[in-house]
Every structure is written in C-alpha cells, then in structure tokens.
C-alpha cells in the first residue's frame, strides 16, 4: 500500500472490504493514523477474516476503555473547577455527548475551554486539585501565556493524565480570530452539567484544528471527525446556513470551505456545494499530504510534509517572531 487511500475508502464505505488484499498493511496504516478504533466500529458487522475480527475486537475494547478514562478525567476536572463552567472539546466532548464521532475514537488529553476572564481562577483550582506543570522552562511558559490559545499543558500527579485548558480555539498570532466569547456563550449543557460547543462551533473547532494548529499530522483523523460531525448534524433544518454564518463570525469561512471539499474528496461526505465553493488547485496538495502514509505505517512524501510544516509555523506567527522563536528554541540546551 503506497498511501492511505484504501483506509479512507473503507471508512467511507465498509462494503469495499472485498478490495482489501493486505489486511496487515491496512491495520498498520489505520493504527499509525489513530483510526483503527474508528475502522473497527465501521467494520463491526462485516464478514472479515477471523484474525482481523479479533484485532478489531481488541481495538473496540481499547476504545471503550479510552472512553471510560476520558469521561472520568472530565468528571475529575468538573469537581476541581466547581462553579466555573466546564466546556469539553474534541474527543471527550464527542464521547460525553454520545456522538458518532466518538465511536472508536482514541482520546489522548482532556481538552477544555474556559472563558478567558475565568482562566486564572481555573488555573488555581486545577493546581490545587493535583495538576502540575509539564514544562518547567521559563521561555516555554512565557511563550504559551503570551502567544498561545491555551495554558501550558498540565498533568495530574496521580492519574498521569494531561489537561489542555483553552481560552479560544486558535493562537492569537494566527490570522483568523475566532469569537471566543461566542464559543462559550452558545455552548450547550449536557444532563450532567458539563457543556459542549454548539454543533456548528464543534465542527469549526475541528476545522481550525485540522488546518491552523499543526502541520496536518494526524489530519486524516481530524478530517474523519469533521465527516462524522457533518453527517450527524447536516440533517437538521437550516444547518448549512447556520454553519456559514458561524464560520463568518469566527473568520473561518475559507477554512470551512476547504475542509468540506477535502471531506468530500476523502470520505465522500455529503456537503453543501455553495459553502464548499469551487475546487482549488491546492486541494490536491492537501489530499496528497493527508494520505501520505504507507502500508508499513511510515510517513511518506517528505517534501510535501516539509512544505506543510513550514506553512504551519508561517500561519501561526509573523515572520520576525517566528525567526526569534526558532532561534531561542535552537539555542536551548537539550
């Protein structure tokens, strides 16, 4: 397998199972893209070879455990934060709200959003409840606090689990400036008192995460989140208009359009053509980057990846600041 195309085609339509010649390669690719759990759910009823069925069953068990652990961690954060509203983001949000995007999804850190004016209180509450700084370095700390959309990462001293406390969904240095207050104000309460972003914001956060925050590493999983969310919410009346308005509000309209086009090309997601806009010549480059994983789980296409890596830093900060940042990083003793 030269790239991850078969994996994405199979996720989109499990009936293509008959096309699989190299299960070992497919499973390896899926693991490397953190999509084995999702694939396992998609193929739950498919007549796969017995050995594959056993591997997929393990992956489903693993995902079930990841879910339990993530929800427990959210519970711990809720207890620590008291009256501060706990807005769950990404994987934990999908799990807590029982969304299809959460099925089989691996969940690493706990990502939460806290209104900016309550950030200091939240930080103090978490530190008092046993979370500790991961990075002791003064430069990193200052960098996070000045230029990032989240606190420096915290880890719990007993449970060894990380929490990322966001106050918005993109770094302040990035060109689009999402409306952070709107994210919090329009969030939705779950029965247990935790909150999640409204559907349109949830999708736009996944979009922001896919493009602006990183070099598209793990992009296939992020795009899969977008596919699952779109399929789940697009059936509601007036969804596409709301998504368009919300994208404008968060200055993410072109990003959303690109994500829609990529989701359609990679996962055959049904999308709104006017919001997606006309195909752009660079879409193919994005697809080439997203699928750059071979049947041995290795990253391929180094020059394409390098291009996106440079681009990710370019988008994150202005050139002079980037130069200063990279210089400081390079001079730091390991």
């Amino acid at each position: 397998m030269k790239d991850a195309r078969l994996l994405t085609r199979l996720l989109a339509d499990p009936a293509r199972m008959a096309e699989v010649r190299d299960w070992t390669g497919l499973i390896c690719t899926a693991r490397a893209e953190s999509l084995l759990g999702s694939l396992a759910f998609r193929l739950a009823d498919a007549p796969v070879p017995a050995q594959v069925a056993a591997i997929l069953e393990d992956a489903r068990q693993d995902a079930a455990y990841a879910r339990t652990q993530a929800l427990w961690e959210a519970e711990m954060a809720q207890r620590a934060l008291g009256d501060i509203p706990l807005i769950l983001l990404k994987g934990t949000a999908y799990a807590a709200a029982n969304l299809p995007a959460g099925e089989g999804r691996s969940i690493g850190d706990l990502d939460i959003l806290v209104p900016r004016e309550q950030l200091d209180t939240a930080e103090a509450a978490l530190l008092a409840a046993g979370w500790e700084w991961v990075k002791e370095d003064a430069y990193d700390d200052l960098y996070y606090r000045t230029w990032m959309h989240e606190l420096p990462p915290l880890i719990h001293r007993d449970r060894d689990r990380m929490i990322d406390v966001h106050h918005t969904i993109l770094p302040p240095t990035a060109r689009p400036t999402p409306d952070a207050a709107a994210l919090a104000n329009d969030s939705i309460a779950l029965p247990n008192g935790m909150r999640i972003l409204c559907p349109e914001d949830m999708i736009l956060h996944a979009v922001a995460h896919l493009f602006a925050d990183g070099d598209l590493a793990g992009g296939l999983r992020n795009l899969w989140d977008i596919d699952r969310l779109l399929r789940r919410f697009a059936v509601t009346e007036g969804f596409w208009a709301r998504l368009a308005a919300r994208a404008d509000r968060h200055q993410l309209r072109p990003h959303a359009a690109r994500a829609l086009r990529l989701a359609r090309r990679v996962y055959e997601t049904p999308i709104d053509n006017s919001l997606a806009g006309r195909a752009h010549a660079t879409d193919a480059l994005y697809i080439r980057r997203l699928l750059a994983r071979d049947g041995w789980g290795r990253e391929r296409r180094p020059f394409t990846r390098l291009g996106f890596y440079v681009r990710s830093h370019w988008l994150r900060m202005p050139p002079l600041m980037l130069a200063r940042h990279l210089l400081t990083k390079a001079r730091k003793p390991r």
Binding site: T24, I55, Q61, Y65, R298
Partner: protein, 287 residues
C-alpha cells in the same frame, strides 16, 4: 521495506521489516522451525535508520512499529537481532490487549504452569531455560499471557535471552539453536537460545497456572522458601504487568482470580541445582 519476515509465536503474529538484510537473516535462522503466519500479522515492527543516510553510514537501527517509544536509543547494526526482539517486546508491552501480560518466565508440566516472576536479574530466564531442558515444557521467558476469559496461561515461546554469566550454562546446546553473541548491549552480553522443539511444537497449548514463584539469585544467600500472601502477590504482579491498567475491569478480575487460587512463594537460591530442588518440593505440594 526492503527485507521482511513474518513470525507466529504462540497466539501472536508479527510482521518484521528491516532496512538491512542482517537482522532478518539472523531472525530467520533463530526461528527457522516456527510455523509461518496464516497471512495477517497482529503487530508490525520496523527496523530502520533514524535518518536515510544512516542506513549505510555508521548504520544504526531504530526500533519502530505500530507502537514506538519516542526516546528509545537506536542500536548498532551488529545488535540488529536484539533490536528485532526488543521491537516485538515493545509491541506486546504497549499494544497487547487480548491477554493480561505478566513479566514472568513460565514452564509447564502435566498441563499445569509454573510462573517465575521478579525483578530483572533475578534469574527468571535462566531458570526457565534450565527447566525447559530438564523435563518441563518451556512456555516463555519474558511474558506470561493470562487469558482473562479462561484463566489459562498461553505459551509465548520466543527465543530465550541469555545474559552475561548465563551464556556459559548453555554452551553445549545444539549450535543451530544459538544466535550470535551480542557484546556491549545495554544489558551486557546477550545470546539468544531457541527453545526446545516440544516448546515450539506445542505452542498453541495453554496451561492452568498452579504455582507462582518469586526467585532471587545470590551466591551469598542461604537457600530458603517463604510463602507470599495473595494480596502481596497481587500487588507485585500489577507492578510486573505492562497492560494491567489498560485492561480495566477484566484485568483486575483475571489477576484476582489468579492470586486467590494459585499458591505463591519467594525462593532464594545460590545455584540452578539448588533452585531446581526447591521448585520440585514446592511443585509436588502444589499439584
């Protein structure tokens, strides 16, 4: 990858890829009599250079795969066989979810399994290898695979990793069973020994655990056996397991059942013969 070998060991199958021919050739020789996998591997191991040019210039073998440790130091190409073995261990330690993994050597007699567990250097591998040559069936020297559903131990008879002074004890083994002597590894001098033929032929046969031992080797010890309570055994085995936490409730239930029905003892010994005598006595009481 340029070079590839697929291996089935007990209930687990691996696909091992390498940028160099040597590790695959050594692995193929060591595991020659093992059955070939039916076609699908549970885990993939990759032995590859950290940077493309390190394939030829001062070649060094980084251990990658489905599961990778971010900070693991690469090994020189001369230790490529060890890298392959470590790669397989890593996939098991981080990726295995079907069985509760106990860091223990295991041997079997009359359908019953004896688990030898304890810290590195306690002599587990050597004891299991010796017992495997002396009437016991060798099940494994690294991981005991406890099936949470049946409570049985599944064999995982990988090549035995002999370390330092233990090498000399197996000089008389058939030459084709021995791998190359690997000097200067992170664990000293290492040589791999292929398990006896019956261990390989019967590697699909699980066994019911009957006795757990915590051996300690020291030339200055008086030989001694002490019973170990179920609670202590439980805690020590959670520490000896790489996936106890990841298995959640089934792991807890399986381990609780194991320690409540299986007697367990600590033994101190000065030589292999002494250990064998202590084990014989405890074994006849336990089974």
């Amino acid at each position: 990858m340029r070079h590839r070998l697929d291996l089935t060991i007990g209930p687990v199958s691996f696909r091992i890829g390498s940028a160099w021919p040597q590790p695959i050739a050594q692995l193929a020789a060591l595991y020659a009599p093992y059955p070939k996998p039916a076609g699908i591997a549970d885990f993939t191991v990759r032995l590859e250079p950290e940077k493309p040019w390190r394939r030829l210039v001062r070649p060094s073998v980084a251990i990658h795969g489905d599961y990778t440790l971010p900070d693991a130091a690469p090994l020189p190409l001369a230790q490529g066989l060890l890298a392959a073995e470590m790669g397989m261990n890593l996939q098991m330690a981080l990726g295995q979810k079907r069985f509760l993994l106990l860091h223990a050597a295991t041997v079997e007699r009359d359908g019953h399994a004896l688990l030898l567990t304890g810290h590195s250097g306690a002599g587990k591998s050597t004891l299991a290898a010796m017992l495997g040559e002396a009437g016991w069936r060798f099940l494994g020297d690294e991981f005991a695979l406890l099936d949470p559903v049946t409570g049985l131990i599944h064999p995982f008879p990988r090549a035995i990793s002999l370390k330092n002074q233990s090498l000399a004890l197996f000089d008389s083994a058939a030459p084709d069973r021995l791998g190359p002597v690997l000097k200067g590894t992170p664990k000293g001098t290492i040589r791999h020994l292929r398990p006896p033929a019956d261990a390989i032929a019967r590697m699909a046969e699980p066994a019911r655990p009957a006795l757990i031992l915590f051996p300690r080797f020291n030339r200055d010890f008086e030989p001694e056996t002490r019973p170990v309570g179920a609670a202590e055994t439980f805690v020590r085995l959670t520490q000896a397991s790489t996936n106890y936490v990841a298995l959640g409730r089934p792991g807890f239930d399986a381990l609780t059942r194991l320690v409540t029905v299986t007697p367990s003892f600590a033994i101190d010994y000065r030589s292999g013969e002494e250990a064998a005598a202590l084990i014989d006595t405890l074994w006849s009481n336990a089974t």
